[in-house]
Symmetry: C2
Subunit: 604 residues, 2 copies
């Protein structure tokens, strides 16, 4: 199955169009302004000297590259001359400062020029990969070749050093990313050596003798085993997700069934044992890493925004092996929850980490300890600026290219993975077709599909939470759609109490509330403390409404609370008092200042 590019998809209204409008109007500029202020764009002049302010960090290239990639997607959908000028100016600086051998990296030009390709811990190939992705995106968006050509020169340089001469200080990237970028560069240019290099990095990872990454054990960078023998998702979650994307790309392009099977095993390990209900991954701040199976703490969840994006990118690649609803289900879970929670409703502030509970009392543990002993607690409010700004530009590029996730096609069928109001241009039965999709999803589960240009075979993903009786094959329902004859589907939009597997100890005895794909949460702004002890009434109906102050829906339901006890420990009593629980979408939490929040609730 081939994905339908975002360039063939136009969102014309509804939930995601509104988010993309905020992106285009606010977010892309908010991130740009911060990057200008912090010197990230100016760093491309490569004129920083010891003693100057704003010393370039070794990941700055990648921060800007992701922003450039996002700008490319935005201008492809609707010309944005101001964005294009910024990209062109940056590309001019890259050209000016690129080495004769094609090398380009800010940090290793102005800070440690003597140490190029020697330190596996310093994101050199990761930065290269993001620049390559941006270059491909900009070429495809605008037809301009310069950026692409520069990055091909850089890729040639890396190929020469890592693959031909093998004279570098390490063999495989410390932070994966370039693998998937090289496949993308190969697909854009047809140059076989880029695929060969990607395959080389994949094949060599986890072989004997790999260099250490910043003192971490090999697990941290997924270097503990050859990738084809890896069966458990471990280590740094963003690294892992990008690696798995690269593995899936190489497996597809080289018809490597063993590698593809490893991808499937790893995907299943993530989504059946190590994924938050929000689609977030990464249980622990230590190593920004996966925990063991079923270890999914809520208040100290890491669940980095970039990792949620990475999981969606991985799922999108798995879909290319053929339709299976589980991949679209995961993408949907990420989109409406762990991805969307990353950004404030005004689009100008961001979470790096996306906790599933905020327990303000926990911070008191730090009252009497030294700085280095403090508990790592995620931020309780989104920040406009942060030093390690991998997430904001990743959010920009991911949301700008959202259309990439909507549909796929094979020779016979158009597959609809995600439900958004808009149009999708595709070819089928030898002719041009346009699918028009109209829906208020996720407010409503009704979706109307109309095809113009001729009849078409259309398959639709029936979401995992849908209770209606659709006949499906691997999660898709198949329809023959007549030209101009609307097909209306109704998946419903049920509110349900969802339980985690009993082995998830953090959630034992608790339920989450989901309405369709959207996870809801309680905030102390709307509910009486302590949230941890509020019991949702299992028999009561949820009422769907609008939140009185936030521009989001809310759910209300009868609930019960225990009175405060006379003593810290007392014989269990059944004297619950009634209350009303108010829930808002998880993605909208922390838009009213710091508050207690929780996703997993007691029930009664």
């Amino acid at each position: 199955m081939e994905p339908i590019s975002y360039r063939q998809v136009r969102l014309t209204g509804g939930f995601w169009k509104a988010r993309q409008d905020v992106l285009r109007r606010s977010t892309v500029w908010a991130v740009y302004d911060r990057f200008v202020e912090t010197g990230r764009f100016a760093a491309f002049r490569c004129d920083w000297k010891e003693g100057d302010p704003q010393k370039p960090h070794f990941f700055w290239d990648s921060d800007v590259a992701k922003w450039l990639e996002g700008a490319a997607y935005l201008t492809a959908v609707r010309r944005e001359p101001k964005l294009e000028k910024i990209v062109d100016d940056t590309v001019a600086l890259i050209e000016k400062n690129q080495g004769a051998d094609g090398y380009f990296n800010i940090y290793f030009t102005v800070v440690e020029p003597e140490n190029r390709f020697t330190d596996r811990g310093k994101h050199e190939l990761y930065c290269a990969g993001h620049l390559m992705e941006a270059a491909v995106a900009y070429f495809e968006a605008t037809g301009k070749r310069r950026f692409l050509d520069l990055m091909c020169r850089y890729a040639d340089c890396i190929y020469e050093r890592f693959y031909v001469r093998r004279d570098t200080g390490f063999t495989t990237p410390g932070h994966e990313e370039i693998e998937l970028a090289l496949v993308r560069l190969y697909e854009a240019t047809g140059t076989e050596r880029y695929l060969a290099l990607a395959k080389f990095f994949i094949d060599r990872r986890g072989e004997q003798g790999e260099e250490n990454i910043c003192g971490f054990p090999p697990n941290y960078g997924q270097s503990h085993l050859p990738v084809r023998r890896q069966t458990e998702a471990v280590g740094h979650a963003v690294r892992a997700a990008y690696l798995y994307c690269g593995m899936a790309d190489v497996a597809r392009q080289t018809h490597d069934d063993e590698l593809r099977a490893a991808c499937e095993t790893l995907f299943d390990d993530v989504v059946t044992r190590k994924m938050y209900i929000t689609g977030g991954i990464g249980a622990t701040a230590s190593g920004e890493a996966f925990g063991g199976p079923y270890d999914l703490p809520n208040a100290t969840a890491y669940s980095e925004s970039c990792a949620a994006i990475g999981l969606a990118l991985f799922a999108r690649r798995m879909l290319r092996f053929g339709p299976d609803g589980k991949y679209g289900d995961v993408i949907e879970r990420v989109l409406y929850n762990g991805f969307l929670s990353s950004t404030s409703l005004d689009g100008r502030a961001f979470f790096y980490e996306n906790p599933l509970a905020i327990v303000p009392e926990l911070a008191r543990r730090d009252d009497s300890v030294r700085a280095e002993q403090r508990l790592h607690l995620p931020a309780t409010e989104r920040q406009a600026v942060f030093d390690c700004s991998c997430c904001p530009p990743n959010i920009v590029r991911f949301l700008a290219s959202l259309g990439d996730l909507v549909c796929g096609e094979d020779e016979e069928t158009l597959y609809v993975h995600q439900y958004m109001t808009g149009t999708v241009a595709f070819r089928q039965k030898g002719g041009e077709r346009v699918l028009k999709m109209t829906t208020r999803y996720p407010e409503s589960g009704r979706v109307t599909l109309t095809v113009t240009g001729g009849d078409a075979n259309v398959a639709v993903r029936v979401p995992w939470w849908c209770e209606k009786p659709f006949e499906t094959v691997r999660g898709y329902a198949y329809f023959s759609v007549r030209e101009n004859v609307p097909l209306t589907l109704d998946f419903g939009m049920p509110v349900r109490l969802v339980a985690a597997d009993p082995r998830v100890f953090a959630d034992a005895g608790r339920c989450a509330v989901m309405r369709g794909p959207v996870v809801y949460c309680m905030e102390s702004h709307d509910n009486e403390a302590p949230l941890c002890d509020v019991r949702l009434d299992r028999r009561a109906a949820f009422r769907v409404g609008r939140h009185p102050t936030l521009p989001v829906p809310q759910l209300t339901v009868r609930a019960w609370q225990r009175p405060v006890q006379d003593a810290l420990y007392a014989v269990r009593r059944d004297d619950f008092v009634p209350t009303t629980a108010v829930l808002i979408p998880y993605y909208a939490f922390a838009n009213r200042g710091t508050a207690a929040m929780q996703v997993w609730h007691l029930t009664r």
Copy 2:
């Protein structure tokens, strides 16, 4: 109310006599052997030189001092010439190496002699305090004065330097202990300056300008406020408990109502907001400290054995202000749970930390991180040896002097705080009396009291968990007991589900099982995993029996489990399957190798 000394109490059978027999037979020697092996006793020769093995640590004096104190209690109850010889030999070394000014500290004699009384972080006065306690105990146990005299000289030295000349590098101890020890020395000798020095340390604590303790904020060492203005228990839990003991002692000896009121406020803050159901205190390994109110995590509980002991010592001192059942209730809670859990059933291995849950899966979080980032998880099995061995000798001295906790008296009444089989010698109405107590407590709540030597007024603490209708005043029921006429009381020994205050987020939605004073737990040895999801049937009766392999009782009860789900997250279902939950006393956990364990259970 004056406490009845352990020297007036003889345990003759039952639960605690068995534990004291293990102590006398095994534990005291197990700890002694470890201390000999690690060079702690030899260090008293004060001949260590740079380059030698077994460099003395700055807390070694206190480790051995607590052992000496325990040996004193043991030999007081039944002569132990071998123990006495060890004490006498050690005292001889102290005498030999004591300075002309009375100073004695191993570390500051052989490692940093130039830095005496300059480093608030190095336990110098803490070691002094424990040596003073041991000296008083040995004098009272044997009548031998030498140790006591040496320690009076040392106390005089400290008095001269800290109180008269004030030429030391710090004003108050970094680790409290000497305050209570000085009051004890004053009570044994009548020397007023020891009380004055204790009061000085109490009065000056938290005043401006105190030196830092190892880089911690002032809270850590309870130096954030003058002690009379402290209302919240904060910082290092053992330090706090010892401070509060010293405050209570000084308040009593100086009739300082303001200081006494601070003690009452702090006691209530601990037991109504910061105490585990086991009587353990100290929520967090960082700083070995209290968390904020209601922050009582189970799997990462610190709950140091020494802190539980410290809380019981504090409660014992509060009892001297007058009978109030809450103090005896807390002592009972500590004794049967957080204290007893510290020691293996064979008496030869110890917990420093006493977790309330063992979740083996948590350790997987450390798979891919650097050593310094590893999660602090308590040990899952008791250790025979550990470097920081404050707890094992503390356990020895506390269990050896258990009789100190049993009774108190005022002019009119004998108060029975704890129920143990044995005899208590006391005076009342001008004559000698003996109380004989017979009970199978905590197997049964029946206690028979017989007084010989004349009639007596006896008040008994009615435990907080007792459901029977006793008429009480501040937790005590009062009886006039006729000579030789047995009084039989029955408190029952009910098995009950106990809930924590709804603000304790770690325990929300869960119940603990207690039988009388004993907290029970589930171990995976006896129950199917995952323990976290087992639901005890709220309506089913508990069956009391004997554990098939451990020498402890067990409880069994109908319970329910959820089957493993098809997916990590699925709509909540009610398809529970029945099972039987097996619970053992918390104090007996971790005697069969590493296993999952939990104290707080779901119910249904």
